[in-house]
Symmetry: C2
């Protein structure tokens, strides 16, 4: 199984359009020790001409063009993108579906609740249903493994296990609507593998780390993990107000109850932070936070990284 | 009044992610005589730190970063983007609003019907209303001029006249919903000017050219006009099926009833084609179609063009 990280930043990307934090400001002035990043986008595949996207980023158009393996073949609508697996209805994870609207057959794997929010509550997603057999939605259920298949039905050989991680729907879902949805269908992590391959964990948004999840992560070979915020009050310090990381349903990296310490016993997987917010000080490779995560055995994802499992 | 063309292509951009037409294929192989283009995006302003977007493209994040005059000032949420004027609810014109969701105060000018489609039928737009005085929607009415103002109320000095151009709502709007909307609020052109400036016409989607519109266009100093399709059957020839340009509510450029001939008497404005589809042969600057439009006194917009009026 091949894995490509097309983008590695959290929603808004790095730099973010209206942000002048230390990171964004230094990057724009050309004095930042670190790289710009598009919004998180991962592609997995076993064959040259069949790829599956993990979520669909708002930067997807540029990300596809930057990677020739995702360019279309000859003839109309010959994109090698066969499908998308959604882990939430967050804009930075789902908006890119609307960039794939040009009559391309696509499998979209999501929970029933996420599908309901997108298809029923957002008429724009009708653009994925202009012709028969354009988007085909496949319901997934936490704890039940499924095979990733192309719209023609051809199996990729990739098995995907969804893992329910949280009960919180995005801000834009009205409270009464959210209350009527299945809370276990709000947010997923994914474990992907092929026969004989290693196990890839895709956990870009993790609200809390409990023992069951720790055990699951311990069985992985590569872990792509929530690297959104360094500290719980990161946005409050920069903006002078707002929510903590935990209120935004992200375990911060630092502190006694942060992911770096809680995952310090995880010896098996290669550990890579993804979904990194523009404000996160570990983006600065000359800084102490970057040194700390590297010394702890973690990597900080950059756009374009790829590996085999 | 300053005018910047941040992007010049139609929906999907050039190249388009799943297209291998002659243009897209040659561009990807590096043998195309012409430039790649982002999706149409125009910015207008009279002051350094206050700009208004005409529509909001899905490529807006990259377009902002590529243009330092749109970068934020020091401090949180100091973007110089003060507002957006919407001419339709098409995805390639409105989706970029969701990229401006990071708690930035913004004026959004649209017809009541376009606002209804976005705000009432698409819950995602709730992200523009997370805090008080984030997005402020201002209703506009065809034929009634209004002043572009920043969220603080400061006038830019730019006056904007909306002109109703069509009665057709986007594909994704269900037929019964569209039937309940005011047909004259579906699609606008804009005429913008400041006191003492020339008149800018922004007409990126024109379903038909009648005498009243021809007269209006004749009074302009710069015209940004629908350059989507060269010929009426352009997509059908490439895809082997689908809709004509006119069915998609775009006057094609060529033929007896095309825009090039119908607008041939237009002597006053500088005439620039924008919203150019990836399939349009005039993108090839070595081809006869490009030569024909240039000989007729038209220009073919490229990303990054800017001028003063």
């Amino acid at each position: 199984m091949r894995v490509v990280i097309l983008g590695s930043a959290a929603g808004g990307g790095f730099p973010q359009w209206n942000c002048s934090c230390r990171n964004c400001g230094a990057l724009r002035r050309g004095v930042f020790s670190g790289k710009a990043r598009g919004q998180l986008q991962v592609a997995v595949g076993t064959q040259d001409r069949s790829w599956f996207l993990l979520n669909a980023s708002p930067d997807l158009r540029a990300q596809i063009e930057a990677h020739p393996f995702l360019h279309p073949g000859d003839g109309p609508r010959q994109s090698p993108i066969a499908g998308v697996v959604l882990t939430s209805a967050d804009l930075d994870q789902a908006l890119g579906l609307l960039l794939l609207r040009e009559l391309q057959p696509l499998q979209i794997y999501s929970t029933i609740s996420i599908r309901g929010i997108l298809r029923n509550d957002n008429s724009m997603f009708g653009m994925l249903h202009r012709v028969p057999k354009q988007a085909q939605w496949q319901d997934v259920v936490s704890g039940i493994e499924f095979g990733l298949a192309s719209p023609s039905g051809a199996q990729s050989g990739i098995q995907c296990l969804p893992v329910s991680l949280g009960t919180h729907y995005p801000h834009y879902v009205p409270a009464d609507r959210a209350a009527a949805l299945n809370p276990n269908e709000a947010l997923l992590g994914l474990v992907l593998q092929t026969e004989g391959s290693g196990r890839l964990g895709y956990f870009p948004a993790v609200p809390k780390l409990d023992d069951a999840l720790l055990q699951q992560l311990g069985s992985l070979d590569v872990l792509l993990f929530d690297g959104t915020f360094w500290s719980d009050d990161e946005l409050i310090q920069i903006q002078g107000g707002g929510q903590t990381a935990r209120q935004m349903k992200h375990v911060p990296i630092s502190s006694e109850q942060g992911s770096l310490r809680l995952l310090s016993g995880l010896s098996r997987p290669r550990k890579i932070f993804v979904h990194i917010n523009n404000t996160n000080p570990m983006l600065d490779v000359s800084g102490p936070e970057y040194r700390q995560v590297r010394d702890a055995g973690w990597e900080v994802a950059e756009d374009g990284w790829h590996f085999e499992l």
